[in-house]
Subunit: 328 residues, 2 copies
């Protein structure tokens, strides 16, 4: 889930320790969308954890069924970004009081998504939490050994692709906050994108062996692409006109659209790199997965991200991000 940038960067620094070597049966720890642990000679488990807190990621008035969906979806989206098949999840749930109606609705949303992916609740913990609802989920999926998609692995001249459309997560949030109005259909579409993101599991699995690097877009395209660029040691060029956006988003001023796409977050689409020769394979995988994909740019040697508008001029992404924080 998107976080105010900055202060929590320092926390993650405390999670990684200099000199901590490899550990038995832990193949990849910290720094990618999932950790990888030994699942036998032929497979690895991809494992991810996300915590959602009332007042930060959702309001007390949230539809509990939507919250149940989203709490699992953000974890499954991390599994999708690794190309893993979801198998099970663990739920830790803090609630101010045991509200049966709320809980039944929350679990309904959670199980509907879980069942759709044959992902079972394998364990959990419940506790009182006087200050508000807290949901922490750890999800596990498996992937053939050595075939997990990572943030690293992309090479210069790879194409950059995204699934679905970007920016509607932020659009839905702005609409929820009453920042502007939307027509009925557009409103429900944007809210649906914000509250019911669909983890791109089938696409992630279809990209095994084809994508050279992948991540899910949860914090905005600029930040999440930045993770791939740093992990792969590359720079990128994106063509703004090629970035897929909803009709509703395209009616807003371009600066707002760019802010939502690059720094908005909550889209839960896949961003991935692949060699040019893989375009047909990717389009077939997307078709099979029932998801649209779009080629939005390419990678190159160097550092940093350049976004070109339709006139070939560079867009000032930093200024868009600044707008974002100024308005928070």
């Amino acid at each position: 889930m998107p976080e105010p940038a900055g202060e929590f960067d320092l926390i993650e620094r405390y999670f990684v320790r200099a000199g901590a070597g490899p550990a038995p049966r832990v193949d990849l720890a910290i720094g990618d969308d999932c950790a990888l642990i030994d699942g036998g000679p032929d497979t690895q488990w991809a494992v991810t954890t996300d915590m959602l807190v009332e007042g930060v990621h959702f309001l007390a008035s949230v539809d509990p069924e939507a919250l149940g969906h989203k709490a699992l979806a953000v974890n499954l989206s991390d599994l999708a970004a690794c190309g893993a098949q979801p198998r099970c999840f663990f739920l830790a749930l803090g609630m101010p009081r045991a509200d049966e109606l709320w809980l039944a609705s929350f679990m309904r949303g959670l199980f509907a998504l879980a069942d759709g992916h044959r992902c079972v609740l394998a364990g959990g913990d419940t506790t009182r939490s006087a200050a508000g609802i807290t949901v922490s989920i750890t999800a596990l999926g498996d992937v053939p050994r050595g075939r997990a998609l990572l943030r690293s692995g992309a090479v210069a001249d790879d194409d950059l692709w995204v699934s679905g459309i970007l920016g509607d997560g932020a659009l839905g949030l702005a609409f929820r906050r009453g920042e502007f109005t939307l027509a009925g259909d557009d409103a429900s579409a944007a809210i649906r994108r914000l509250e019911r993101p669909q983890p791109r599991i089938a696409l992630g699995i279809g990209l095994r062996g084809t994508a050279t690097a992948a991540i899910d877009v949860s914090d905005g395209l600029a930040g999440d692409l930045g993770h791939i660029l740093r992990a792969s040691g590359l720079a990128a060029t994106i063509h703004w006109d090629a970035v897929p956006r909803s009709r509703a988003l395209q009616e807003l001023p371009v600066a707002t659209q760019q802010r939502y796409v690059f720094t908005g977050g909550d889209d839960y689409e896949l961003l991935f790199a692949a060699p040019r020769s893989a375009a047909t394979t990717i389009e077939s995988a997307a078709l099979a997965a029932g998801v649209s994909v779009a080629r939005i740019g390419h990678l190159r040697s160097g550092q940093g991200l350049v976004v070109l508008d339709s006139d070939g001029r560079a867009v000032d992404i930093a200024a868009r991000a600044f707008d974002h924080f100024r308005h928070e």
Copy 2:
């Protein structure tokens, strides 16, 4: 961690669904100390989750280093109860603000325990949590396939054993709350038992193939033994004089001692069943693990728990539990 009984029972009912069959690669879901998932032809992963919430499990004034220790210890104790070797854990941490001093101390306590068991932090999530600190940990350990200790599996005439001493977790909590005074050494011992429980990993591993059932004592002997009795379909007799207690605890009125032992919780010792013929094996395993063990009773066919005092009279455990809730 101990919870006010009752209202949260209903929550766990929502976690278990009628008709939910077995799932691919998930060997055991919900209802034991750990879930078991496929770790390859020869092994299984034991997985457990616990959430600790400020104001419920600890106060804002808690020593962060002790909290770091305990948050991991309660999870490793579940792995110990399954006979699993800890390998890695995932940390989700909510904090009102990024307090570097607090965080450094918390992680120091956490890593000190983790390093002692060669258990690595494999992933995590950090978030703002305006209302207070929330720590959710998922820990994974491995166990040879089919050798995990479960709550089920005990048979009539098995002996009942516990490791270490019982009741000092509750004693430490009562002392912290200022309910009575303790002499210096006794005070620090009780606080240490409350705040720095030592998961009985080596003992759990040593009991593989010997113990027929096991659980960790986190909610008091009565409740946790009850889980074994229900899962194994048996009754139990415990001899009060055989229950190992600290000298400090034995100076309190017997009714208080029994309340702390049977309904107090926070002891994190292992309670396990084994055939009489295994006594020597168990004592050797305990010696090798550097932990004391005591035979406190036995299992029999039927239902329920009988506790006999030194005169052979039945102790009214329900009345002790009632005292407990009345004084909350």
